[in-house]
Structure formats: structure tokens, C-alpha cells
């Protein structure tokens, strides 16, 4: 066996494909060009943290030339000084101008002009599972100064509602996210850019979260249309309050469901009675039904039911699954009320 290494020209595979694409309207940028173009808009953010497993750094994306940076709302931003370092090494002081606590998106302002921005496409269609994407982030803080953030490649594995926790804490967002097949969500990654292979911003890398169902660490991104909505709300001043999101318990009595008294550590959520004329009665729930899921999330105990309902925003649709005579029955209870009803 002799050296085979010089037989094939560099990127032979790419070359073959590019030659064949000559008849097509435009030449595709190489992955390197796509990454280099988009990475100019990715910002390394340094703020508070560095203790008890909380990183003091994350990532953000410049979304307009006058210096608005979208990032993930986190403890990193709990700092008077938020350092933002651009791809070319320029350093700016970031000013937190607002946050959407439900989507956990924050906007920082940098004092700059003609900065390289990736547009936030509010009308971008949701990516289909199987779509190839690239993730650009300040993972592990390995890039400093004018060093480029890290690039990873992957595929959108699923588009599903987020159902996750970080440690003991809930993630308030329950909307759709892109689940990715690569490990994009590392320390420092939150707020990183998810781009398609044309370099367009299609999502924002989320926090490090674990799936409620399986406990595995999630690799996910918030779709760009949700990021755009959060950005618009923040700029319009609509999203500075925690938007009636509560991680506290919510008694299902407000929906007409009276559960068995909470006598044990994990009292199973059997329905004792259903109040007549209530949303629960209208949805067809009955006494002795066992609640097993609220909005797709397993509820093994009475406490879990209250927590699952408490995690929903006011107005979010409430769908429950119950076991009745050995079969699972799904019921739609309508929008979640604003406050707990009568006990």
C-alpha cells in the first residue's frame, strides 16, 4: 500500500458537484463562505456568572446595523457591564433594553453604526425535520477577541413544543422549537445563531435544558419567527413584564375539576367530582377519571397537575388526557383562566 493521500484533489467531492451545478442559476457558497459571512454578526457576550456552574458568557446575534443584539435572557445579563465582542475583535458595552420572559429572549443595544447584521425574518416558514443547519456559538468560550465563534453542523430532527426544565426550574416557553441532532447547546452557546446553508438566520440557540420526559440534555433552537415576535414585543415595550407566566401551582378547580384530596406524597390525580357547567364538564371529564397528561406532559401526581397548569400562560389552551376504563381519552378544556378559581 502506498500513499493514497495525494490521489484525490482537495474537496474533490465538492468540485464534482459544483461542476455539475454550473448549468444552474447561481453557484452555491461553500460552507466556509456561508459560515464566514454569518459569523460576522455573531457576538461573544461576557457578563455575570462564573460561579456554581453558571457560565459568565454566552452568545448573541446582531439583527440590525445600528446595534441591536438578540440573545437569551439569562443570569449572564444580570450585570452592569455586558461586554460584547464582535467577530472582528471590536468590543462594545451592551445595554439591556428589554426582555421577553416567556420566550426568554433579550435585546441588547450596542452603540454602533453599519454593523454586520443578520435580518430577523418574522415570516420565515418553519423548517421541516431533515433540514440541514449550521450553529454558530461562543461555546465553552474557546474563541476570544477576533477569533471566530465555533461552527457546528446538524439537521433539524423535530419541530416540537418545548417541555423542559433546567435543574429544578421550569422553562416557561411552551411553543415550538427545533430539536437538533447535534450537540449545539453547550456552555456559552445560548443565544447563538442557527443558520441555514445559505447563511440566513433561522433560529436562536436556547439555554441548556433537559427534556421533562427523558431527562436528556436538549439541543434546540427557538425558531426565527418566534425570535422576531419577541424582538418586536421588546422594542414595542409589550414584553417587559413576565406576561402572566407563573411557575406556581394552579388549582384545576378553576376549570371545574375537583381532584382527590392531597393526602400522600404523590397522590394520583383522580378526579373526585366535576363541577356542572364548568369547562371540564363541557369537555366531558367525569368523576374517577385519572389524569395522566396535561398538554402532552406526564402528570404522575396531583402536585404535577397543579405545576403543569401553573406553567401555562393565561389563555394557553389546556388539553388533558385521562385514563377511563383502561383507555386514554383526550379532552380540550379551552383557555387557561387568569387566576385560580374557588377552592
Amino acid at each position: 500500500m502506498t500513499s493514497h493521500s495525494r490521489r484525490a484533489p482537495r474537496h474533490a467531492a465538492w468540485l464534482a458537484v459544483l461542476l455539475l451545478s454550473a448549468a444552474l442559476p447561481a453557484r452555491a457558497a461553500t460552507p466556509g463562505e456561508t459560515i464566514a459571512g454569518a459569523a460576522r454578526s455573531v457576538v461573544k457576550i461576557y457578563g455575570a456568572g462564573g460561579v456554581s456552574g453558571l457560565e459568565a458568557y454566552q452568545t448573541g446575534v446582531l439583527v440590525n446595523p445600528t446595534g441591536h443584539v438578540v440573545t437569551v435572557l439569562s443570569t449572564v445579563l444580570d450585570s452592569d457591564i455586558i461586554d460584547c465582542v464582535l467577530d472582528d475583535g471590536r468590543r462594545f458595552a451592551g445595554r439591556l433594553i428589554g426582555a421577553d420572559p416567556r420566550r426568554e429572549v433579550a435585546v441588547l443595544a450596542l452603540e454602533g453604526e453599519e454593523l454586520p447584521a443578520l435580518p430577523l425574518a418574522a415570516d420565515h416558514p418553519r423548517l421541516a425535520p431533515g433540514t440541514r443547519v449550521l450553529a454558530l456559538s461562543n461555546l465553552f468560550g474557546v474563541a476570544v477577541g477576533d477569533e471566530r465563534v465555533s461552527a457546528q453542523h446538524g439537521v433539524v430532527a423535530a419541530v416540537v413544543p418545548l417541555d423542559a426544565r433546567r435543574g429544578a426550574y421550569e422553562a416557561p416557553y411552551r411553543g415550538a422549537v427545533y430539536i437538533l441532532d447535534c450537540t449545539t447547546n453547550n456552555p456559552g452557546s445560548p443565544g447563538g445563531a442557527l443558520i441555514d446553508w445559505r447563511g440566513r438566520l433561522v433560529g436562536l440557540l436556547g439555554k441548556e435544558l433537559r427534556a421533562n420526559a427523558s431527562g436528556v440534555w436538549l439541543n434546540y433552537a427557538l425558531p426565527v419567527d418566534e425570535v422576531a415576535k419577541a424582538y418586536d414585543d421588546i422594542i414595542a415595550g409589550r414584553a417587559t413584564a413576565p406576561a402572566a407566566v407563573s411557575t406556581e401551582r394552579f388549582d384545576p378547580a378553576a376549570l371545574g375539576v375537583i381532584l382527590l384530596p392531597d393526602l400522600l406524597d404523590k397522590t394520583p390525580p383522580f378526579i373526585e367530582t366535576v363541577r356542572t357547567g364548568s369547562p371540564a364538564a363541557a369537555a366531558g371529564l367525569r368523576a374517577d377519571d385519572l389524569l395522566v397528561a396535561v398538554n402532552g406532559r406526564a402528570v404522575p401526581s396531583r402536585m404535577a397537575v397543579q405545576q403543569a397548569l401553573g406553567a401555562l400562560a393565561v389563555g394557553d389552551p389546556v388539553r388533558v388526557s385521562v385514563v377511563r376504563d383502561g383507555a386514554i381519552v383526550d379532552c380540550d378544556l379551552g383557555p387557561r383562566p387568569a387566576a385560580a378559581g374557588a377552592p
Binding site: M1, A12, A13, E147
Partner: protein, 643 residues
């Protein structure tokens, strides 16, 4: 943040290969996408399954051909992958880089294995391998597989050509899965280049390394990172781990092929090599400049004029814009190399040549290689006060199966039959046997190039300095003399040479030329303690892969230290002679291209000392007398020299 080495591991076995296969399919999709992208309508999600299906229908043959080619490249590259087994101490990966069995791996893979190890190849056979050279600081090692002279191998690429986004793949032995020696292949893209990863204490520093999202797991350590054409761009050895446990999180690091190239000569020469320090530290000033924050007065840089607060602009031909960049450049250079440094002071820019000192005292390096706490110590050294990272621990390697041999020990009786005679213990060396091998190779090249033999009379070198003044040099076994416009000086060649740095200002030119004559006539071995030192860049025409490396022989002769730079054809290209340690050497640089006398000797040479040029000598005539010095002068026996 933690990045830890991922080498020796782990008896836990998991069915992970399907993951690698899955990634192969992902490549097919990636190739398909490039075709699809231009055709895709804007309202379609780029790279969506529908778009790929549409594109594949148009150019399926080309895609399939590209895919077949890629699978073929991976299969051929995998043939060069080595599964290293170190018994109870774990194991890792390696890659063959020459048909005679030299393979690269990580220091932290072979350190617990000791002198001998078993290596499996994709052909399904198990080979004996012996330790050759170690670089504890750079986490590199060279081993040699035995039993064939036609091993499959892979060539080193120029890793400075690697760009973010380039496809790449790793072939190795993750989780020590390869019980049938078939390497696992994982593909990805290059995530970052010129990364700096802090060392564990003073060793295992990853400077100027490549970052990839190809899966790098425990056991992949020491294996190759290949580019899309199957050339080696790096040696995988490290990954960032965090709360998810000691498995890949898409952040692996590889030692660059160009750094490997810098150290390869010394490693093949059986040495325990050290990395370089400038003798100065740098820091970022408030205005962003990289300035000298501390400097040793004993350093070469200080002697050449570098001072506290000077701005470092470039090192070894590469720009220094951040402290990381400085560490990246320095971290890839071997101790003892001479490199240019550009600095700025008060608006004025200066370029100096600095000699890089060693990071570690040799005894310290030997202790690290031996495992710090004694020969049974199996764990990697860790910086004092640095908490152990999750999963950073290596299997302790206890038990009766643990290999006994250590690099510093004499050849143990347990050395397999196939490796007998391939080891010689000597302090400072991982395996001195290979130093002898390299020294004999260089000696043969010198002899073949010059074809000079004893008996030999005096040599007379007559010519002119570049400014036109005449010179005349006479070298014999008894004495050396030089006539210069500034006067005549003489050195007694029969005694110690360190007392006479003649002619004045040269740092010892006559001594250097006398030792040079002895080398050409007698070969390196009779000079004194002659060893193979390693390789240096003799010419760097831009690209690193095109750099011309020259061998360096080191000798201690009559009180002086000498290093000869020898080109691949055996031509001696340079002499560096130290009258005393830590002094500035006399540097002689021969221009082999200007061989006017036609006898294998150079036609021109330049002499430098202490940062200034002493003189440039044009040789018009070389006379080599054949008779003994005591005999009357006879006609020069050119035939003898040319034979």
C-alpha cells in the same frame, strides 16, 4: 469550561457504530445539498427533504459518484488507522505516516503503556510496536510498528490551509470498541482553527489546534483527523466535556499537522522533546496591543534588545494580534529553534532573531514521562489546585496485567521477541536506539555527499569577502588560521576550543570550521558526544507543507557545543558553535548552491554572531592537500576528494 484529554479509556462498551454510519449518510445529504441550493426556490426551506429529493432526481449519479468517492477515501484512510492497546492501562488510537511503520499518537495514550504496545490495524492483524519519541508538552508521541515494510499510511497535509466549514473525519478507536481492529469513522466539519487550549499544568498544551464537531470520544485520542481527501490535518486528543459526562459534545480538538511536522524529526530521533519559551511573557495592554509584561535578562530575546513594554508584532513569521495568537505560535515550536521576532517601540519597528529556550528542565520532563509519582503512577499529572474534571480520571491501570516497562528503564526482559534490539535506554531519550538510527542515516548522507576520507592534509580556502577584500583560511588537524584585512588569527586544534573565539567578533569561526572539517573527514561519531538533535526548517517558501526540513546533529567537541544543519542530500548547510552555554553562538551558513570548486564544498558562507553579520565569504579556491601535514606540500589530490 473544561477541555480534557480523551485518550486512554475505558472498558465500557457501547454500540456506537451505528452513529458513525448514520453520519456517513449525513454526508450524502450534505453533498446533495450543494446541488440543490441554487435550484431551490426561496419559499422552500433550504435543504429540506423535498428539495433534496428534487435535486437528487436531477443529479443522482453525480451525487452517488461523490458519495462513492468519499466512502472510498474513508476506507483507505481507515487502513492507516491504528488501534493501540495498552493492556489494563487502556489504549487509544494512532495513525501510520510511513510505510516502514512510524505512527503518530498522543503522549497521554502511550505514557501509561510504557515501552511496548500492541497495535491493531484494519487488516485485522495485531502488530508489536515500540515507543520511539515523546512530546509531553504537546501531547504527541511517535511509535514504530514492526513486522512489515509496506504498512498502509497517510500523508500529512498543510493544516494552515484548513478552513472553518471544511469537511473532515476522524478514524480511531473510541471507547476501545475495535476489538476486531476496525476503526470507527466519525465525520463532521471544522468548527474552529487556530484555537488555544490551556495546558494541564505545564504539559498537554493544545496550541494552534483545530476544533471539530466530528465525534471525538475517549479512545479517539492519538488518531488522525483527516481532510476530505484523506490526508492527515491533525491528531485528535482532546475534547470539551461538561455536565453531560465524558462523551462527545461536538467539541473536539486536534493537534495540527503543521505542529506535528515541527517536532517529527526530534520524535523520530528517540528524544523526549520540549517546547519553547521566549523567556518573556506578554499581556494585552489597555489599548489592545500585545506587550512584553516580563522578560528574563538571560534570554536570547533580551540579548537581541527586546525589553519590557515593547509591542510584539510578529513571531516566527506570523502576526501577533492577541495573547492567544502569541501562545498559539510559541506553543507549536520546539525548544532550540531560532525564529524571527518583530517588535515595535516608540513607533519604530525592529526584527530580531531569537533562540527559543526549553520550557522544562530536562529532569522535570523525565519525571513527567516516568509518571511523576514513580513508575507505577498511571495518572496524568494535573496542575496543583486544579480540580479534577468529570471524567478526567483515567483508569488506574492496576492489576497483574498492567505493563511494567517504562521509558526510562533499561530494556526489560518482557520485551516481545519482535522488538528485541529496538531499544536503548538513556536519560533524556524515550528510546535512544532510534537516535542512533537517525544519526547513522545523516552520517551516511554526509559521507555520500562529500566523499572525503583520511588521510588528509591541510585545507586552504582562498577567496574574497563581499566587499572585495581577500581572505585565506587554513585548516588542519593541528591548527586553524585565518588571514583577514583586520589581521591574522590562529587556533590550536589539538587542545580545548572553548578558550579561543577567534577571529575576534566571530564568536568562534575558526573553531567552527575546524570541527566542520573533522565532521566531513571522520563522520559525526568520532567528534565526541554526537547525537541526532532533530529537524529544523531550512527554508520556508510560504506553505508549511512545502517547507524544507534539515536534520541537525549535535556534538560536544573539545569544550564547545556544535550543531550541524544537514540537508537531505547530505550537504552541511550550517554550523552553530557555542563557546559557553547561554552565550551567543557563532553561526555559519553555507550556500551549497554556490559550489564553485566542484568538490561538494560550498562556494560561499556567511558568519553571524550576536545578532550581527561578521562577514560574507566568497570561496574562489579550495585546496585539499592529501599528504600528511609534516610532508612537503604536494599537489591537491582532487581525484581523491572526488572519487
Amino acid at each position: 469550561m473544561r477541555a480534557v484529554s480523551v485518550g486512554s479509556e475505558c472498558r465500557r462498551k457501547e454500540p456506537r457504530r451505528w452513529v458513525e454510519r448514520h453520519r456517513l449518510h449525513a454526508i450524502a445529504v450534505m453533498v446533495a445539498w450543494v446541488v440543490a441550493a441554487p435550484a431551490g426556490a426561496d419559499e422552500t426551506n433550504v435543504g429540506s427533504p423535498a428539495e433534496i429529493a428534487e435535486a437528487a432526481a436531477v443529479v443522482a449519479d453525480a451525487v452517488l459518484a461523490a458519495e462513492r468517492e468519499r466512502v472510498g477515501i474513508m476506507a483507505r484512510a481507515a487502513e492507516a488507522a491504528v488501534a493501540i492497546f495498552a493492556g489494563e492501562a487502556g489504549g487509544g488510537s494512532g495513525v501510520l505516516i510511513s510505510p516502514d511503520g512510524y505512527a503518530l499518537t498522543n503522549f497521554h495514550v502511550v505514557q501509561p503503556a510504557g515501552l511496548a504496545m500492541k497495535c491493531g490495524l484494519a487488516d485485522g492483524r495485531l502488530y508489536d510496536a515500540i515507543l520511539v519519541g515523546l512530546d509531553p508538552t504537546g501531547d504527541l508521541a511517535v511509535v514504530k510498528l514492526v513486522g512489515r515494510d509496506d504498512f498502509p499510511w497517510a500523508a500529512l497535509a498543510d493544516s494552515d490551509d484548513v478552513a472553518v466549514g471544511d469537511p473532515c473525519f476522524a478514524a480511531g478507536n473510541p471507547f476501545l470498541l475495535a476489538t476486531d481492529f476496525q476503526p470507527s469513522v466519525s465525520a463532521g466539519i471544522v468548527s474552529g482553527v487556530h484555537r488555544y487550549q490551556f495546558p494541564a499544568g505545564t504539559i498537554l498544551e493544545y496550541a494552534d489546534c483545530l476544533q471539530v464537531d466530528a465525534a471525538i470520544n475517549p479512545g479517539n485520542s492519538g488518531g488522525a483527523l483527516f481532510d476530505a481527501t484523506g490526508r492527515v490535518i491533525g491528531i485528535n486528543g482532546r475534547a470539551s466535556f461538561e455536565k453531560r459526562g465524558r462523551v462527545n459534545v461536538g467539541v473536539g480538538y486536534a493537534i495540527s499537522a503543521n505542529q506535528v511536522r515541527h517536532f517529527l524529526g526530534s520524535l523520530k530521533g528517540g528524544r523526549i522533546v520540549d517546547h519553547a519559551t521566549l523567556g518573556a511573557t506578554v499581556a494585552t495592554a489597555e489599548d489592545g496591543r500585545v506587550v512584553v509584561s516580563d522578560i528574563l535578562e538571560s534570554s536570547s530575546a533580551y540579548r537581541r534588545g527586546l525589553r519590557y513594554d515593547d509591542e510584539v508584532v510578529a513571531l516566527a513569521g506570523r502576526p501577533v494580534r492577541t495573547v492567544n495568537a502569541f501562545k498559539n505560535i510559541l506553543g507549536t515550536l520546539p525548544a532550540g529553534w531560532q525564529v524571527p521576532l518583530v517588535f515595535r517601540r516608540g513607533g519604530q519597528q525592529r526584527e530580531i532573531e531569537v533562540r527559543l529556550a526549553a520550557v522544562h528542565p530536562q529532569a522535570e520532563l523525565a519525571a513527567i514521562v516516568a509518571g511523576e509519582g514513580g513508575p507505577r503512577q498511571r495518572r496524568r499529572p494535573r496542575a496543583p489546585g486544579k480540580p479534577p474534571a468529570p471524567g478526567e480520571e483515567q483508569p488506574p491501570g492496576e492489576g497483574p496485567g498492567a505493563p511494567g516497562p517504562q521509558p526510562q528503564r533499561p530494556e526489560p526482559p518482557s520485551l516481545p521477541e519482535a522488538l528485541r534490539g529496538l531499544h536503548e535506554a538513556r536519560p533524556g531519550y524515550a528510546n535512544y536506539h532510534f537516535n542512533v538510527v537517525e544519526r547513522q542515516r545523516v552520517a551516511a548522507a554526509i559521507a555520500a555527499h562529500h566523499r572525503l576520507e583520511r588521510p588528509a592534509g591541510p585545507w586552504r580556502l582562498v577567496g574574497r569577502l563581499v566587499d572585495g577584500e581577500a581572505f585565506r583560511i587554513e585548516l588542519s588537524d593541528r591548527r586553524g588560521s585565518i588571514d583577514l584585512p583586520t589581521g591574522t588569527t590562529t587556533v590550536d586544534a589539538t587542545g580545548e576550543l572553548d578558550a579561543n573565539p577567534s577571529p575576534p567578533g566571530s564568536g568562534g569561526l575558526l573553531a567552527a570550521l575546524l570541527v566542520w572539517r573533522r565532521l566531513l573527514l571522520d563522520g559525526p561519531d568520532p567528534l565526541g558526544r554526537t547525537t541526532y538533535w532533530g529537524a529544523v526548517v531550512a527554508a520556508a517558501p510560504g506553505a508549511a507543507h512545502a517547507a524544507v526540513y534539515a536534520d541537525v546533529l549535535e556534538a560536544a567537541v573539545a569544550g564547545v557545543e556544535v550543531r550541524f544543519t544537514v540537508m537531505a542530500d547530505g550537504a552541511v548547510a550550517g554550523i552553530d558553535l557555542w563557546m559557553a552555554p547561554d552565550a551567543d553562538p557563532c553561526e555559519v551558513r553555507f550556500d551549497a548552491a554556490a559550489d564553485r570548486a566542484g568538490n561538494g564544498l560550498p562556494g560561499m558562507f556567511e558568519v553571524r554572531h550576536a545578532g550581527t553579520t561578521f562577514g560574507r565569504f566568497r570561496i574562489d579556491e579550495v585546496v585539499m592537500e592529501a599528504a600528511a601535514e609534516t610532508a612537503p606540500a604536494a599537489p591537491a589530490d582532487d581525484g581523491g576528494a572526488e572519487r
